[in-house]
Symmetry: C2
């Protein structure tokens, strides 16, 4: 068993059992007491907070908060990372590249270097392996650069967004909506939003939006998670 596998086993064991002694762990993973102590030290260097108490009844305890410190990433950041980093290789102005960069920087700061490396290689795989041929991301229309900061701010701070919208028939209406999601249907961008006046969800083509402004102070409660379906051809159905 390699070093890192063993250290993972130790983390899992601590997570599962709550408290363990060095001797227990040493026996469990099949190495000497000294080696476990070295592993604990390494894990602490990686950012895991492991409490320890000497004396009878003492032992090691993994602080549940510790992992937060190690990778304080939101799901959104991970996804933004995946999409944005992949997209940025093919296109110019795409939303959330800033967030993705911040996320990557955050990871790089907080995570051990080999984890960053794995993540990057993982992103490499995604882009080269699937995203490009399947989704044809190179075909996504660039968003109007001037609009980006407004959209990003509205999304990220959960601010109501007002804009002029020109529908398919050419009729122009004023909207005030709560942005919920962005949808890419190459080559177009769509905004999925809750329209409080109409009490319904609406879709807006980004290129038909003009004069967007976020309303300072008009925050709303964001409650959703988007769940992407599969974009890949499927060979076997689950189950």
């Amino acid at each position: 068993m390699s070093v890192r596998l063993r250290q993972d086993a130790i983390v899992r064991s601590l997570r599962r059992n709550g408290t363990s002694t060095i001797a227990d762990l040493a026996e469990e993973v099949g190495v000497s007491r000294r080696t476990v102590l070295r592993d604990i030290s390494a894990l602490r260097d990686e950012g895991f907070v492991i409490h320890s108490e000497p004396g009878p009844g003492g032992g090691l305890q993994l602080d549940p908060q510790s992992v937060q410190t190690t990778a304080r990433l939101s799901v959104a950041e991970v996804f933004a990372l995946l999409i944005s980093v992949a997209s940025m290789r093919a296109a110019g102005n795409l939303p959330f590249s800033g967030l993705a960069d911040a996320g990557l920087a955050k990871i790089e700061k907080a995570l051990p270097p080999d984890k960053v490396r794995d993540l990057r290689r993982f992103l490499d795989c995604l882009y080269i392996g699937k995203l490009s041929p399947q989704v044809d991301i190179s075909n996504i229309q660039e968003m109007e650069p001037a609009l980006l900061p407004t959209f990003e701010a509205a999304f990220l701070q959960r601010l109501q967004l007002s804009f002029q919208y020109c529908d398919a028939k050419g009729a122009v209406t004023s909207r005030v909506v709560e942005p919920q999601a962005m949808l890419i249907l190459p080559p177009l961008w769509y905004l999925v939003a809750w329209d409080p006046a109409r009490k319904d969800f609406r879709h807006f083509r980004m290129d038909r939006i003009s004069k967007p402004e976020y309303l300072e102070g008009k925050t709303f409660r964001r409650r959703h998670v988007l769940f992407e379906d599969s974009v890949s051809p499927i060979r076997h159905l689950p189950r």
Copy 2:
């Protein structure tokens, strides 16, 4: 420089330069020719397809398809993985747990073990760190178990889906739609779909859908990527 860092450097170099010789790579990463050959061999074991030609003008070439073999993961699978694995800890019947499992199994088979480990640890971090307190995923309504296979099949095989829908006013209509995405607004599930008859996107509350059936052979072209916004409180705006 550690072994894996070096191997990553080799992959990147091949990706960047197209073709390199063993000697070039050896000098670039600062090890002997023999070691590069060992690394190449290791990378091939990991699934990278590296073409090689002896003779003048020959060299090594990374097959762009190779990474597919290494990690044939769609963005969807990654996200399904992230959400599903996290969700399954808190809830019972949620969609795509099968896909997530398949994805994990796929990774486990295709990826080197330490990569799998990192991904799992990463998922651990996600759940413990953020997902749970932020999104309150435990509050998501379970989907009717009987409906799950139908939805999953329709999504995964891109089949048109027919069902009876009871709208907010109680009116029941028959629909035939192309499922595009699923939306979780705790505690409810929504289906985002293109309605070809109405030539528009529509949202459907999952719990108001009855008698869903996918139409064998009625496939459609799926062109979209969903882009999740942030669910975390933001401290600094990008840029």
